[in-house]
């Protein structure tokens, strides 16, 4: 199976051709080779961010001697566990730049990858349910307009037209208006990982699954290799892109990160008829809601407050989230919930990510996306590829270095990221 044939282009003609052959001729979307004993670049973690980093290393810098090493299956971490909300209405300039880059890349990603990532710019609203939120979101709208990110403030009446199932006169937290980003929406999370994986494999990169990195070998302050469950793999450069396990990878290389790992969970209801064609986030009461193409209501809430690596969250938060949403969306009160799951998210103190060089030469980290990194995957991969290729950050990554914690230069997004998403 190793250097399997390239996957071929997907098109309507390919479907017709395969239909005539009983679909017996489809190739695997990516190869599963045995690892070589060294690569120019090793990326740890085949989540969306690791795969996108690899893709833009090849595409933008012509570096294809790359292995992406994954302890489980590709996309099996937070990338395959998130609620797929995409938006770029952040407050600070560096955030707006990288999230909006990501959104622009998402807009053309299916064509770019020749893989349908089901990007659905259905619009996104963040509800203001207190006077504080009204002021906060109006400020964000002004900031976004200066940044060239189009968002608008909508009043309660307009909001009710956009979301007919909403109850704007909730007794405890009436809906006062909202921050609306018409370009926001959702995409199919697995497809994003699979699409990038297929493109990386087509460029000749190696995706090595079921291979856990257990140690990092350095010499004179420079990275030499990683030790894995499939043996030692040498490298000139190492990118750690492992979300909730970033502290563990850093420890292997002898440094610490300003990261704490906590559980974030989500749940989906039984499928129902289409009833809501936008994404709605309610940050005061801590819940958010969208409807999947299958008809399920996709629901998320807040993180647990304590460190946890078990990929399951507390029942208390399920109850809290559902209770909060029922007031604003009374019609969901009789829905049955089908599934609930958790992911381990990597939280930083300022709720902004880290794209950085590290104390070890040749090692780069991309982490700290916490509860909101799915939306950032293409922009993050773009910026990370530049950092790895050049050895120093380009304009998109420059402000997200580790040194900001020492220098007190935080990129405070605790308002924009007020709820997990």
């Amino acid at each position: 199976m190793s250097d399997a044939p390239r996957s071929g282009r997907y098109s309507v003609f390919a479907i017709a051709r395969q239909a005539l052959r009983q679909h017996s001729g489809w190739q695997r979307a990516w190869a599963s080779p045995a690892p070589r004993d060294r690569y120019q670049v090793v990326i740890v973690g085949a989540g969306g961010h690791g795969l996108a980093t690899a893709y833009y290393l090849g595409k933008n810098f012509g570096i294809t001697d790359v292995a992406i090493i994954e302890k489980g299956w590709l996309g099996g971490g937070n990338t395959g566990r998130n609620t797929t909300i995409i938006r770029s209405n952040y407050l600070q300039d560096p955030s707006a730049a990288i999230y909006d880059k990501a959104l622009k890349l998402y807009e053309g990603l299916s064509q770019e990858l020749n893989y349908n990532v089901m990007f659905s710019p259905r619009g996104l609203i963040m509800l203001a349910q207190t006077e504080h939120e009204v002021r906060g979101y109006k400020r964000t709208v002004y900031a976004n307009n200066l940044q060239g990110v189009s968002t608008e403030w909508v009043d309660a009446q307009r909001l009710k037209e956009l979301v007919p199932i909403i109850n704007i006169d909730g007794p405890r937290y009436p809906v006062l208006g909202g921050l609306y980003q018409a370009r926001g929406g959702t995409a199919r999370h697995d497809a994003v990982a699979w699409g990038y994986a297929r493109a990386c494999s087509d460029m000749g990169m190696h995706i090595i699954q079921n291979c856990e990195v257990t140690g990092v070998e350095t010499e004179g302050g420079q990275v030499r290799a990683v030790n894995t469950s499939k043996g030692r793999i040498g490298c000139d450069k190492l990118a750690m892109v492992v979300a909730g396990h970033s502290s563990q990878l850093a420890e292997m290389a002898g440094f610490r990160l300003p990261i704490e790992s906590v559980a974030l969970q989500a749940l989906v209801s039984e499928p129902i008829k289409p009833c809501m064609d936008v994404v709605v986030m309610a940050n005061t009461v801590h819940g958010y809601l969208s409807q999947s193409d299958k008809g399920e209501m996709v629901i998320g809430g807040g993180t647990d407050g304590f460190n946890n690596f078990t990929q399951r969250g507390s029942w208390q938060h399920v109850e809290e989230t559902v209770r909060a949403l029922v007031e604003t969306f009374p019609m969901i009160s009789r829905l049955k919930m089908l599934r609930q799951w958790g992911g381990i998210v990597d939280m930083t103190g300022d709720r902004s990510p880290i794209l950085s060089t590290t104390p070890v030469g040749g090692i780069f980290v991309n982490c700290g996306w916490g509860t909101g990194g799915f939306k950032a995957i293409p922009g993050s991969g773009w910026a990370m590829a530049e950092l790895v290729a050049k050895g120093s950050p380009g304009p998109l990554a420059a402000d997200f270095g580790l040194n900001r914690f020492r220098e007190g230069r935080f990129i405070d997004e605790s308002v924009a990221a007020g709820v997990a998403h």
Partner: protein, 110 residues
């Protein structure tokens, strides 16, 4: 749901009665501290996958801060102890060693 016993009032409290307060036993850096030391004190967390010491407040009970020893990989609780301890007391260390024979304390007590 996480259940911890408050070492002050002895009540077995579940998570909704408690407020988490992050990594325990951090040593505050004094005015003479370097930038590196301050950065370490403020931000560089162990974030251990496994044995972890943590601050909790019995928020809807006696209101006091206490410390807990638990495993972040399994959610097992090894025990709780009063916040006045500079390091986990001997019986907590013993309870952890019972469950995790390979684990060793990474502090020294003078």
């Amino acid at each position: 749901m996480l259940t911890l016993t408050c070492p002050y009032c002895g009540i077995r409290a579940e998570e909704t009665e408690l407020h988490p307060g992050g990594e325990a036993h951090l040593t505050r850096v004094g005015p003479q501290g370097t930038d590196e030391e301050f950065e370490g004190y403020l931000f560089a967390r162990k974030n251990a996958k496994g044995v972890h010491f943590e601050r909790w407040r019995h928020a809807y009970g006696c209101g006091k801060w206490f410390l807990a020893a638990r495993c972040t990989a399994t959610l097992q609780v090894f025990g709780t102890y009063k916040a006045q301890n500079a390091h986990p007391p001997a019986e907590i260390v013993e309870a952890i060693r019972q469950a995790r024979p390979d684990w060793n304390p990474d502090w020294t007590t003078e």
